[in-house]
Each structure stands twice: as C-alpha cells, then as structure tokens.
Amino acid sequence: MAERQIVDQFVMDPTTGRGIPVMRGQVLRIKQVGKGQCLDFNAFNLHDYKEFFHCGRTRHMHGLNPTKGDHLWSAPPRDRPMFTIIEDTVGTNDVNYPRCSAFLFEFHFGFDKHPAHSNCHDILAETIREWGLTPDDVHDSFNGFMHTGVNNGKMYIDRMVASAGDYIELLAQIDTLAVPICCGADVMATSNYELKALEVTIFDGDAVDHSKLVDHKYTHQRSPAEFRQPNIKADRPLYRDENYAPEWPWLANVKARFPYTVTLDERETALLEEMKGDPDFFGFTEEEIVRFCFFRWYSINHMAGLKHLSGQD
C-alpha cells in the first residue's frame, strides 16, 4: 500500500500552537516527542468559523473519554463530525475539563503578575489571532492525551501516561482550521508537571483513511441557510429586534394529548402493584408508572447511540 504523503510537519514548542488548514480527507497526527504532554485542540469550519468543535456534543455522543472510532462533533445546530479519531496509541483523551485560563492559575495558585501564567485559553487566543479570530472565539478543547476521570461527581486529573512516540490521528471530515496547542498547565498533573513539545504532521489521507469518511446527513443537522437569523452580529451591545415574533413549531404537538388505554393481564397488574411500592416511583400515578416504564424500555431497545441510562452503555 502506498504511504501517505506528508503535507506539512512541524514541532510546537511548549506553550505554543499553530492554526493550520486540514482539509476533508487529510489526516492530522499529533505525536509525543517527550515523556507526555497534554494537547489542547480547537477546530473551526474553515469556510464558516461559527461552526466549531463542541466538547458537549462529543461528550454526549461518546462519553467523557473519546478514543479511536469516535468523532469530534461541531456545536448544535450544525451537529456533525468535524474529525474522526482513527488512531490513538494511549486511549486517554478528555472532553470534560474546560480549557485552563489565566484566571484559574490566579484563583488556584496565586499567579497574579503580568504576563499571566501560561494557559490554554491565551495560547489558543494568540494562535487563532493569525486567522482574524478573537479570544471570544476560543472554545473548550479536545484534551488529547489528558488522563482524567470522575469520582463521586468530582472530576480529577490523573498522571499523564503517554510517552515519546505515542500519537493520535484525526481524520478531517470537513475542511477545517485545526488549532493544536501544547497545554500550558505546569502546576497541575496534566503533563506530569513538566511542559514539553508536540510534533504535528498533516498527511493526505490514503484509501483506507478515506473509507472512514462519513457522508450521512440527518434532516436536522442545520446549516446557516436554514437559520431564521443567518447574519453574524458584528457589534457587541445587544439590541432587541422590535419585529421579533416567536415561532414554536412543535408547541401544538407537545400540548396535544392522545389517550391510549392499555389492558394489563393479571401478572402485569401485579407488576404494576409492585412498582407502586418501589421507591423510584414514589408519588407516581399508575399512568405515570406505565408511561415511565414504557419509555425506559423504548430507550433500552430502540434508541441509537449511547443510551444515557445507568448500566446500559
């Protein structure tokens, strides 16, 4: 099989980054050159910067630690894969932690002098300035190689486990401005308390890569052409639109009520009686119990993707 052709390759110094176009079908590889450095990664649609990477949607689709086979999604209402993780030699990535910022280092550690302590928000902001974007355009990062977890509802940062030579590969699903940076957190465990460089390589994807491009289009993955307000606001103060008239096209359907009378046999009636004594259904009417059980059953058996039910995924 023919090797991929390298389009660009460079090493990012610690606490620096670069904004680089990565076109649909190209592959972005981020490789460790030292003993474990956290990558912070922003991404924009190259042709419409208002479409950008969204941790929240990615978290919903793949959980807190996306890895090989998972997509990096854009924000609603675009809601489409921007990249696919096609290789991941470590398997510790995070979409739960927000990007670190100068404020956090001042709040947590007392860094109140100028210049600010190195931090991902400011590194990302300085990187995208090359493309005419502002600090307000920075968004929460795909935190590559970042080793995290949740315990009793509290997030934690565990020690970096990546080492030299480890890498992740991201296949671009749309034309993007990819913004990889080296995380600036040196007083958290993120990169084992030592900042390092990362190597970035962009390849033209080969046939195997291109077989992983996705083309499905859901009806409600919306583009600006479908927005009722498609124009980007150019000034900062907010003004009310005097002509605004709200439209809630789903409201009538939500308010409509359709009764269905379900006949339970003796055994099902006994089950319903049991459910009425279940603490989960305290205060529920019989109707509410039947409705709840039905929709839970539907989610378990017919919902696509992660089910977001305890013990089901």
């Binding site: 269905y260 379900v262 339970l264 099902e268 319903l272």
Partner: protein
C-alpha cells in the same frame, strides 16, 4: 414459600402521550413485524421493563 407475585384482577390504565411521543410510537408500530397496536406496544414496554426492574432489585 412461593416467590410468585400475588395474582390480582386484570386492569386497564389510560396513558396519555403527546403528539411527538405518538409519532415515535407510531413509527415503531408501523415497523412492527407482529403488527401490534400502539396500546399493545405500550403494554409490552411496560411489562418488559417492569419485569427487568423487578429482577434487578
């Protein structure tokens, strides 16, 4: 001692759903190989989930 649930009389329960929910269940009913009605599908869902919940306790 038997662990079987106590048998009681059959009963009917009227479940109200909204239009969006009805659309979803209609789609399920339209593709149901046994051509069950919406009422029968709701009953099946209730019964299967309630049984599994009981078993998991």
């Amino acid at each position: 001692m038997s662990s079987k649930p106590k048998l009681t009389s059959a009963k009917t329960v009227t479940v109200e759903i909204n239009g969006q929910q009805e659309d979803m269940i209609q789609k399920l009913a339209a593709n149901d190989p046994e051509m069950r009605s919406i009422e029968e599908i709701i009953r099946q869902g209730f019964s299967e989930f309630a049984k599994s919940k009981r078993l998991s306790r």
